[in-house]
């Protein structure tokens, strides 16, 4: 307490001394005029030890708190491939099973990921979420997966959460600005069922034709293949969408020079033919009017189709055009790959019909509640 008082008094004296000599006026000549820079430097140097001492005291206290917490909750570590997962002692078997399943289903080619090796995961599920205190390598990035039973009731949902965390942890494998880093999204691992919905509900010609069996249109929905022979860009996208694609390509990347005559015609004069010529020139566009999660889905599918070694092949071509990457990773030609991607979407079409959704159960619940009250009424009481 005395140190706080001392510090406060010193601060007050310092500020007061400055206020006395510093009239509150604007000009450089008038503020704190009779204190030289050297005197100021000496004052600052006098404050530095107090600051360092206060910082050290605070850090020592934080460290002491951490030490006190460490060991209060019994922990264990699950090691699986390159993954290290810290969890509560009673959760070890469940954690191992979930991570093993997830790894084998979706990430078996990722042993070579350099960024995954730098991650340490903590996992809590179906238990009261607690602060896990453990010694971590300062170079390691700790990713906490804390799932409450209410939000994540089933093992499948828990695996989806693990999949999201693992897919985010490998984003740093690719240099910023590379096609791979642009296609992988930080929004997690895309589920095929969700992707089918996105494709089916998008109000875009490309997605409609893709579901009808046109592999080129599937590529267009991913933003590739506008320059391929047989490309029907006018059937895939509306004119305003093509214009926006060029605008965003100009804004986001350097592949299109702003002083290019075609760019000026497209953007300034809304010349759609010029926009189409520009799109045909690009190996991929940074934006299409469909969710960017489709691209991440296609990329993860390519890794899955490519099997073991796929991630290593992706790392080999980190800076290559995205079509090359997809072919190299999946081991298929781009046309074959797009056909496989389309089949994956169709296969995951949800078997659902339009119904009352959640309202039916809510209506039923309220009806039962009112019926129960009605039964309590003297006029309606049974028996």
């Amino acid at each position: 307490m005395s140190s706080i008082l001392q510090s406060g008094v010193r601060g007050l004296v310092f500020v007061t001394s400055l206020c006395v000599v510093a009239p509150t006026t604007a000009s450089a000549e008038q503020s704190t005029p009779d204190i030289t820079d050297e005197q100021f430097i000496r004052r600052i140097e006098a404050l530095v030890p107090e600051y360092e001492s206060a910082r050290a005291a605070r850090e020592a206290r934080i460290q002491a708190l951490r030490e006190a917490e460490r060991g209060s909750v019994p922990l264990d570590t699950v090691q699986f491939g390159p993954l290290r997962v810290v969890t509560l002692q009673g959760n070890v078997d469940r954690t191992r099973a979930l991570f093993e399943d997830t790894w084998n289903e979706s990430f078996s080619g990722l042993e070579v990921s350099p960024s995954l090796a730098r991650h340490l995961f903590t996992f809590q599920w179906r238990a009261r979420v607690q602060r896990l205190a453990f010694a971590a390598d300062p170079n390691q990035q700790v990713v906490a997966i804390q799932l409450s039973r209410a939000r994540v009731p089933t093992a499948d949902r828990a695996k989806a959460e693990i999949r999201d965390a693992l897919s985010r942890s490998v984003l740093a494998d690719f240099p910023s600005g590379s096609p791979m880093s642009a296609w992988l999204t930080a929004r997690g691992y895309p589920r095929s069922v969700d992707m089918y919905r996105l494709v089916a509900l998008a109000n875009v010609g490309a997605t409609r034709q893709c579901l009808s069996g046109d592999a080129g249109a599937c590529g267009a929905a991913l933003g590739i293949g506008f320059g391929d022979p047989g490309a029907e860009i006018s059937a895939w996208f509306e004119p305003h969408q093509r214009l926006e694609m060029v605008q965003r390509a100009v804004a986001s990347r350097d592949h299109l020079e702003t002083d290019d005559a075609l760019v000026r015609s497209c953007i300034d004069l809304n010349d759609i033919a010029a926009c189409d010529s520009l799109l045909a020139r690009l190996d991929w566009v940074s934006w299409v009017p469909v969710s960017d999660r489709l691209r991440a889905h296609a990329l993860w599918l390519a890794v899955s189709v490519g099997g073991s070694g796929a991630w290593g092949r992706a790392l080999e071509r980190a800076d290559a055009p995205i079509v090359d990457v997809l072919e190299h990773v999946s081991g298929l030609s781009i046309q074959e790959f797009l056909t496989v991607w389309r089949e994956e979407l169709i296969r995951n079409r949800p078997d659902a019909r339009a119904g009352f959704g959640g309202r039916g159960s809510r209506v039923l619940a309220w009806s039962l509640i009112f019926m129960a009250f009605a039964m309590r009424s003297t006029r309606w009481r049974l028996a």
Binding site: I4, S7, G11, S27, E29, F40, Y51, A54, A57
Partner: protein, 371 residues
């Protein structure tokens, strides 16, 4: 008491008991409350002290070197400079100069003696090695003063990384030096008012120029503001149409208090804190709108007056500052009724529901017959 009512009461008491057991100490609730430990308080105070002192030193050095640079290198009253950067091309610099020069030349009126400087400055320049950097960080600053007989107004953008052409282009306005460039040095009381917060109303922007994105977002918010009831009291009161609140909002200026100690003790006249000005940032244009409303002659009278701000405003424009601000807020922001009372609609609805329930109760009671 009816048996069923007893059950409800028991359930209620049990729920209270459960909540109390969880919330009353010793409980787990304290985990969510962050209490300041003595070490935290001491660290925070030492940090504030050190950053304030270091900020004063750095700003003294900047004011000294940049004012000299401005006065000696100004061409047609404009001085521009940035730290060496490979990302700035000669064409980019020329474009920046042209942008600001044409802006300055287009001003009507304009003080021919005033030197306006726009500078990018390395944020570590003039700082002591190994000492915590000042708290102003990358926030733009304004310096106003006189050097070698020349009045100057400088806008300084502290930068950590090399600047680029696009950053130069984005600094294409005179910002808080607009009125100084037009009307020269203000009177003493107006100067003090500007430094205590009035600079937040003095940016180089008109309402009509506000970014469409910003306005679209503002339209989506109630009264175009982020939570008007959570703004400071004067702002909230002014949006509610209270004259004293509007007067206070104008006189107090639109700046938060956090940098006042630094501004009072250093040559810095203003630290721009980002999008925290009141009235949904529209108040950035307040002085420009005031000038447009009354004309340059009356505005110059206000600007150069030696009286306090309220008197200067009244003498120049023939109106109370609060009354003018209230009308401006009503036009630009809208009206938000303040106070704890429910709205008229809510009261009416509540009365209707109560009436309907009373009527239903009466009808049931009247239909009841003794068997």
């Amino acid at each position: 008491m009816a048996a069923s009512l007893k059950y409800w009461l028991i359930a209620l008491v049990a729920a209270w008991g459960a909540a109390a057991a969880w919330l009353l100490p010793p409980s787990r609730f304290d985990r969510f409350i962050r209490t300041d430990l003595p070490e935290d308080v001491r660290y925070r105070e030492a940090t504030v002290e050190l950053q304030l002192a270091h900020g004063i030193l750095v700003s003294r050095r900047w004011a000294d070197s940049l004012s000299a640079l401005a006065v000696r290198t100004a061409v047609d009253g404009l001085a521009l400079a940035h730290p060496h950067s490979a990302n700035v091309t000669p064409e980019g610099f020329d474009e920046w100069r042209e942008l600001l020069s044409s802006r300055l030349q287009s001003l009507e009126p304009r003080d021919p003696d005033m030197v306006v400087g726009v500078f990018f400055q390395n944020d570590r320049h003039g700082a002591l090695d190994g000492v915590l950097l000042p708290r102003f960080g990358a926030r733009p600053q304004t310096y106003v003063g006189t050097r070698e007989g020349s009045p100057y107004c400088l806008v300084v953008y502290p930068k950590r990384y090399p600047v680029s052409n696009s950053e130069l282009r984005s600094a294409g306005r005179l910002e808080t030096c607009l009125m100084h460039a037009k009307y020269g040095e203000p009177g003493a009381a107006v100067t003090a008012w500007l430094e205590s917060g009035g600079f937040a109303f003095a940016r180089d922007v008109r309402l009509a120029e506000f970014d469409e994105f910003h306005l679209r977002r503002a339209r989506m918010l109630p009264f175009g503001m982020f939570r008007p009831v959570e703004a400071d009291v004067a702002t909230t009161g002014c949006v509610a149409g209270k004259l004293p609140a509007c007067t206070a909002a104008f006189v107090a200026g639109g700046m938060s208090r956090s940098f006042l100690p630094l501004i009072e003790q250093s040559p810095i006249a203003y630290v721009h804190e980002g999008a925290f000005s009141p009235f949904s940032r529209k108040s950035d244009a307040l002085l420009a709108e005031l000038e447009a409303a009354y004309g340059p002659e009356l505005f110059a009278r206000f600007w150069q007056s030696d009286s306090d701000v309220e008197s200067a405003f009244r003498a120049a424009f023939g109106e109370e500052s609060g009354a003018w601000l209230r009308d401006w807020v009503q036009t630009e922001i809208g009206s938000y009724r303040s106070g704890p009372m429910p709205s008229g609609g809510a009261i009416l609805l509540a009365m209707l529901i109560l009436t309907a329930l009373s009527a239903a109760t009466c009808v049931i009671a009247m239909r009841r017959r003794v068997a």
